[in-house]
Symmetry: C2
Subunit: 269 residues, 2 copies
């Protein structure tokens, strides 16, 4: 079991993790994916560590039912707080989005001043700070939580005056610190990239942690001889804890057309 032709498991607090799925589909097009989105309990980023860890444990247990060969924690908040506990409890390789994002940012920065935006939980965890410190202790990290970014994206207000003002308000303290690299530490934030770009100007590099993670997944699978050798087309399955209808509608905005079935799951009942 957990052989090379088993699927990759991906979980997220909701829909945003589909940006990670998209990167996986592009970079590892032969791999099958089982996605789990906890849309009934979303968001995680406003909640406490103990709740985030508990929900994350339940999500991994659900994915393991499908014999997944590895688990990708697409959610920055879960990656920030739950990764050590998940790795302690489960033997399957578990890949988060923090280290990939941190690695890309450390590679890109020239003045060694990196900004991080994320949910309140992600920023409070200081997970990006720790990951960057481990890679290059001379880098300075400046963090800012942006609780209105996710609601803005979900409302579809990703451009226009209100969006620009909210983005400018949150990013001002980071700009004052003269960051030259900004980690988008939440799956929803890449959908604000155009407005963020307009606010910070062309000189700041933007890092999409989710996009960077596909490389880590490839590395982990290759290192464990777990890359698929299947000749058949990959099969994807999507599970959500709230009704699938809404997932379809918003999912299309993240992923283009969803290439797989969407089912309802009750992992914690």
């Amino acid at each position: 079991m957990n052989g090379a032709n088993q699927p990759i498991g991906v979980f997220d607090s909701g829909i945003g993790g589909l940006t990670v799925v998209k990167a996986l589909m592009t970079n590892l097009p032969r791999e099958s994916i089982v996605y789990f989105g906890d849309t009934a309990r979303v968001p995680y980023g406003t909640k406490s560590k103990s709740t985030i860890v508990k929900f994350s444990l339940e999500n991994v247990e659900f994915l393991l039912r499908f014999g997944v060969k590895c688990i990708v924690v697409a959610c920055n908040t879960s990656s920030s707080w739950a990764l050590p506990t998940l790795r302690k409890f489960f033997k399957v390789p578990i890949i988060g989005v923090i280290r990939p994002g941190a690695t890309a940012a450390v590679r890109l920065t020239r003045n060694k001043r990196i900004g991080v935006v994320g949910t309140r939980a992600t920023v409070n965890s200081r997970a990006y700070d720790a990951a960057i410190m481990r890679l290059d202790p001379s880098v300075k990290v400046f963090s800012q939580c942006c609780p209105l970014f996710v609601p803005l994206v979900e409302e579809g207000w990703t451009e226009g005056d209100i969006c620009r003002e909210v983005v400018a308000t949150y990013l001002k303290p980071l700009q004052k610190q003269r960051i030259d690299t900004l980690i988008l530490g939440c799956t929803h934030y890449p959908l604000l990239a155009r407005t963020i770009r307009r606010v910070v100007g062309p000189s700041v590099s933007l890092v999409d942690s989710g996009e960077q993670t596909a490389g880590d997944v490839r590395g982990v699978l290759a290192g464990n001889e777990l890359l698929t050798n299947g000749k058949k087309n990959p099969k994807h399955r999507f599970f959500v804890t709230d009704e699938p209808a809404h997932f379809h509608k918003v999912g299309d905005r993240f992923l283009g057309k969803l290439a797989g079935s969407v089912e309802r799951a009750h992992p914690y009942l």
Copy 2:
């Protein structure tokens, strides 16, 4: 059991229901209250009917452990979608916030054009429309969901340019319909009342459904001879599903100082 000296049970998706508790404490100062806030799964207003009903059933079951003599559904979203199911399953009197808000609005309107703002779920349920129709079929109701209002309140941005622009954007269609009364159909929205007032001007009456509900509770208790005759000071208990610390901090903003213990609950485990 469920005698006159038992406590009143109140539940909400999170913290906002404390505005209803405040109104109860003012209007029924001898009554003890058991409050349940589902802070680990908040918000409900972005979720589907089946999830809202399921969570609401679990919340009532939790409160019944305390022998409550009635249940107040402080959450507009739960009141909108779950009330009929709750009343079918439980014998204890259950009071929602929709009818009290609708009654007050019908009493206040002069031009019979009432606006309703609420979460997406509340607006989609058309519960306020139905309640108003039952009271006065000649009234026209215009609804608008305002998904950014709750995040704005939780971020503390209840005044200033961004808040005013968001409020103006959402309320514009209602103003075009020449409403003279506006129901604030979500427990968080009264915290935006000052900005809403500035946007709509002095001629529009604002109705806080939660505040109106205390009158209904008194009526139901009196009608069932369930008003307390206890001579002792009331005792309040607060339960939340996420960590209590955050509840304390934000709770103080809603209620002044919390007059009771806050404990963590796991009703659905």
